[in-house]
Each structure stands twice: as C-alpha cells, then as structure tokens.
Symmetry: C2
Subunit: 346 residues, 2 copies
DNA sequence: ATTATTTATTGACACGTTTCAATGAATACG
DNA sequence: CGTATTCATTGAAACGTGTCAATAAATAAT
C-alpha cells in the first residue's frame, strides 16, 4: 500500500538509482533534479522501506535490549540510558523482558536473530555464557550489562559487586553490628554471588556472624517472605543486608507491619539506590550503582563495536559502587533494648 | 555472513521452495525430506531473515510503543503489559521514549514507519491528533494509550480521568477540606485537563476553594518546586491533589524537608497509585489506574486490528479509577491547629 | 492398462531497495 | 576542432525470502 521508491521514480521521471541517490547522497544530484524528486517524495508521503534497505546492505540499525525486569527501577534507568544512546546514533531498540527466565531469554534471542539486530545489550539472568555464545556464533555484537565478561571476548559494563558487598557490610560493622542476615539471589545470579564474596570477606575480617537467606526471585513479595523468615530465626539479627532495594522495600514493609522498627529494632540496607530509596517509609540506606550510565555506556560500546569495521577493542568497564547512608541503618548503641511487640498500634 | 535459505536448499539437495515449506507449512512436506532439511538447518544454524520474509509478505511482526517517560512506574507497568501481550502473539516491540517532547515523538514515528511496524501503541504527549493522523495516513494500526479517542477512528484504552478527578476531590471534601491546591500539567495534557474537569465539578458542588498550579513537566523535581509555591501562597491550603504520584512524591519530600507534616499540617493525594505509593515516607493516598491492564489490553486490541483482515471494530475501552485512601489524607479535624515551624529537627 | 486424483517438489518471479559499470551530456584543455 | 575530463543519470543485478503455477511421481479408480 505505501508508495515505493519506484513510484517516486516514475512520477518524477527519473530512474530508481537517482531517487536512491537523493536519499543517500544528495550532494551528487543536480539541484533541479533534487528539488523535483524531493517534491514528489513529499507528495507521495514516501518513506523508504527499512527491510529492503537493510536486506540489500546486509545490516540493520536496530539493537536488542534484554533485561530481567522492567518493573525494577534499576533496570528502568538502565533501559533509559541504553535507549538514549541508541537514539543518539539513530538505532531503534527492541525491548525484551526476560522475567529472569533463561528459556524466555533464549527465545528472545531467537526473535532478535530473526530481526537481524546489529547487536544485543544483555543483562543475563542465569547462564551468561550460553546466551553470549549463541549470539556470538551468529556474528551479532554483544555487550554485557551489569555483568563482567570473563574472557574479554566482549564488551561489558558493570559495577564492582564484590566491592559493593564489602562496602555494605563494612558500613554495618562500623555501626557495631555483629549479627547480620544477608538476603540474596540464588547461585545463578553472578551479581549476587559476587556481592556475597564481598560480604563474606568483610564479615570474616570483622568477626561478623552471618546468616544467608537465598531466594529464587528478588522483588518486594519475596522480600516480605524473607522478612518473616528472619523474624523466625532463633537469634534475631541486628541488621539485614538485601541484594537489591526492591527486596529491601518488601522487607521493610513486612517488618513495619509486624511492629519491628527500623532502625531502632533492626538496621536495613539495600542495593542499587533506586529512585525511591530516599522517599521510603524509612529512608533506605543503599549502595548506589550508576544505572543510567551503565545502560548508556554499554549501548555506546555496543554501537562502536557494530560500526567499527576494523579492529574493535573489547573493553571491560567497571564502575565503583558508593555507600549512601540514610536513616534505615543506625549504630547498635541506639537500638531499643526492650523489644515491645505491643506497639504495633503506633 | 549468516547462512541463507538457499544455502540450506543446496546442502539438503532440495529447492528453496521446499525449505520455505519446511519453515512455514511443514505438514505438506514428506517426512524424510522434512527431517533431512531440518537437520541441515540445525547444522548451518540457519535463522530465516526477517527482512526478506517481511519484505516479501509486506507485513512485519513488530509494533512500536511510544511512551513519555519510562522512569515513571506507571508507564513501566504499561510497558510491561504491552510487552507481555505482544510477546504472547509473537510480536517484537520497539521501545520509544518521547520524553514528553512532541518533536521527538514525531521523529520516532518516522523511525517506526521506516521499520514498517504493523502498528503503534502510543501515549501521546501533546497533540494526539497530529501523531495519529500521521500514522493513519501511512496505513499503520494505532491504539491510544491512556487517551480516549474522540472520533472512534481508532482503538483506545484509557481510564475515566474526569471521574478520577472527581473521586479525589470528593475524598478530600468528605474529609472536610475546603481549601485545596490542584497541581497539574499544562493544557496540552489531555489527561490532566480531564482530571481538572472532574476536580472543578466537585469543587464547585462542594464549595471548595480551588487554587491551580500548572506545570510543564510532572516529576519529583517539579513537584518539589510546586511544594515551595504552595507554601508561599497567602492562604495555606489544607490539602493538595497532584496529577500524578511522582509529583506527589516530590511535594511530600519537600514538605517534610520544610517541617510540614503530612497529613497533620496538610493532606496529600496523588494519582496512578504506583507501586511505591504504599511504601512512601507517609503512605500515599492515590487514585488507582490499572496500568498493566491498560498496556496489555491496548496491545491486544492493536494486534487484533492488525491481524483482522475483515472489518475491525474500533473499541474505546474505559477503565474506572479507584480511590486508595492511605495515611497521607486525613480529616481536617485531626489537623494540628498550631503550626510549629520549629520542629524541623524532628 | 489407461485415466484420474493425490502428493511432493520444483524453479522462476516478486518484494523495495542499493550499488555499480556504463552511458550520455557538458565542460575544459591543447 | 578533437580529445580528455568531469558531472548526472541510467538500468540491471542482487539481497533472502514467499508464492504459485507447473511438473513429476505415486496411488486410486475405472
């Protein structure tokens, strides 16, 4: 139904080659011809067909963005950064939400391969290696999001998760906490495992007694469940570190519901420093990650890889996490010694 | 570089037509041939080229999603719903963030037209009519998000904004508030204008004295600015109604910073009932809109329009908003009569 | 055994572009 | 004036698929 380049050529009484030149190399077309063809293009509301164009050139101007959960503001920021960078370079972005599901991730990769995306920006859920391998074997550009590449076979932009884990526990240790619960993701989550290493490092050095609660999925609902588990422990901890802020929000919500005060009864620190952390019921201490930068930089690297015809140097960029201390963490000396379960009404 | 259907045909010693049949109508291919071709497809890691496929058929399996701001959890939910529905029907989604910028919106539409998307899901920023017209003139399916279509020339899924405005003010009026500030978007925002109509309806009927503060952009930053304006008014209102929750979050943050207590000094109600509303410093009263449903339903309608060869009935679906009363709104009788500006330290 | 019917496969063409060697027209040079 | 040289334009081929009329082979009906 839409008019084609041939229609334009016919009406402007030129060849298709000339119309193509008007679109792609206007400087080599004679001024009068240029004007005439452009007029016809407007009249016919001609928009070149991207399929045909890229079919011929063998290259598209699209990239895929695979993230586990758009509902988490951390990934929202990442997506925004990636989209901005792509837009800047005239790339269109396919949004793929993997739902932390390996199978869905693989299925999305299939879709993206069919669409012949130039590259894929991926925050892998479980087995990063498999997805990257799959994409690589099809000669599609890859950049890892929030996941450091091991073999330097691809670009990656991440945050030093080990360091982040260390910072968080160090902060709690500095506040005098010796019994800490670490609520984290399963072993498949590279990020969580890394943070766990940092956690263990400092915990050992500072003589902290650590209890680990692993979860399959990290969101507010699972956070609420985890909070119940924490309160059911024999020995109640004085602080909780959550692998992300969504989790921490869930934990906080459930604790408050149970009448446990933060930080008077228990200190709580999250991870990501999402947009809503400062506005929480109790302003949430957290570990800041530059989410927007992460997405933006990764997209820039990916596009540079895609466009660079020569040798592209795979870069591994690692940002530093930062502690953002707010009201949800406090020194043990300020804790209530008598635990009043009756003041739920408050 | 990737292998083509022709490569497969050659290696499997069949014609290209047969390979095509294996892909699209396997039931008409002889079992042995089917197996042989499929084996070769696996060996060659053949993935059909979407461009060529759709160039031939003249139809893609992609849709565009244009939203003003992915950072706002309301739109995040909408996006998630839309993506789920698209995924269910094997459609890929182009993510376009218009940044509440009409020019950017138009530019994105150009990109989508080039990509020959089958349809576009759009939450228009200013002039819905222009964008819809542009898309319609190119015979692309359109469904309006959170925006009721006037001429029933297209599908739309929205929420009754007039009703939402009414509900909010009615709630405040029921709590005895007579001096209310309504912080809203500019006249370009259809949604805000509609809510404003509802606001005015009830305000007049209930004898409420209304002050309107219009803003260009609605987010937490502009909310903070607005809060300052409110406090600079000659007569301090007893309640504030914000056109969305992000705005309300900003207002709340600034009020608390200034030592104004919510709801003891001033009641506050938002709109959208985003995920974080209940977890806010003061759990935020809000008007719930079914964001996920909005996105999901709109995508379903759009795809049905795209696939239906015959007569497609354009539907205008209107959801009902719901009041969610939390702690940020309270009866005037519970307000502090003495306004203590000194207790900022608290 | 011949004809009709079903089943499986073929191969050329079309989709809408870009590219590029070839052509023709116009201008510059000796 | 004849020959290079530049400038604009042409038209056909190619990109990788889907479609469809045509063909070949196998089976059923007479």
């Amino acid at each position: 139904m839409p008019s084609s380049l041939r229609d334009v050529a016919r009406k402007a009484k030129v060849s298709t080659g000339t119309v193509s030149n008007v679109l792609n190399r206007p400087e080599i077309v004679a001024p009068e011809t240029l004007a005439r063809v452009r007029k016809v293009i407007d009249e016919l509301k001609f928009v070149p067909n991207g399929f045909a164009r890229h079919l011929r050139s063998g290259q598209s101007r699209t990239i895929g963005l695979i993230i586990p959960d758009i509902t988490n503001p951390f990934y929202t920021e990442v997506a925004r950064g990636a989209e901005d960078a792509a837009n800047k370079h005239d790339y269109a972005v396919f949004l793929c939400i993997s739902d932390t599901d390996g199978a869905k991730e693989t299925s999305y990769i299939g879709v993206l391969l069919e669409q012949r995306v130039r590259g894929v920006l991926i925050a892998p859920t479980d087995d990063a290696h498999k997805s990257v391998e799959l994409l690589r074997s099809h000669h599609v550009g890859v950049a890892l999001l929030d996941h450091k590449s091991v073999g330097s076979q691809e670009c990656s932009v991440s945050v030093d998760h080990v360091r982040g884990g260390e910072i968080a526990i160090q902060h709690l240790a500095d506040l005098g906490h010796k019994e800490i619960v670490w609520i984290t993701g399963s072993e498949d989550y590279r990020q969580c495992v890394d943070r766990g290493i940092g956690v263990a490092n400092i915990a050992e050095r500072a003589g902290v007694e650590l209890t680990i609660i692993p979860l399959k999925i990290l969101n507010t609902s699972t956070g609420e469940e985890a909070a119940k588990k924490v309160m059911a422990l024999e020995k109640r901890p004085t602080a909780i570190f959550c692998a992300n802020d969504m989790l921490a929000f869930g934990v906080m919500r459930e604790l408050l519901r149970m009448g446990i005060k933060v930080p008077q009864d228990i200190s709580l620190i999250g991870y990501d420093d999402i947009y809503f952390a400062p506005t929480a019921a109790v302003p949430l201490s957290s570990i800041f990650q530059p989410a927007y930068q992460l997405g933006f930089t990764a997209a820039e690297l990916l596009i540079s890889e895609c466009e660079d015809t020569g040798e592209h140097q795979h870069k591994q960029i690692v940002f530093d996490p930062e502690l953002v201390a707010r009201s949800s963490t406090a020194h043990v000396s300020t804790m209530r010694t008598v635990r009043v379960m009756e003041d739920i009404s408050a």
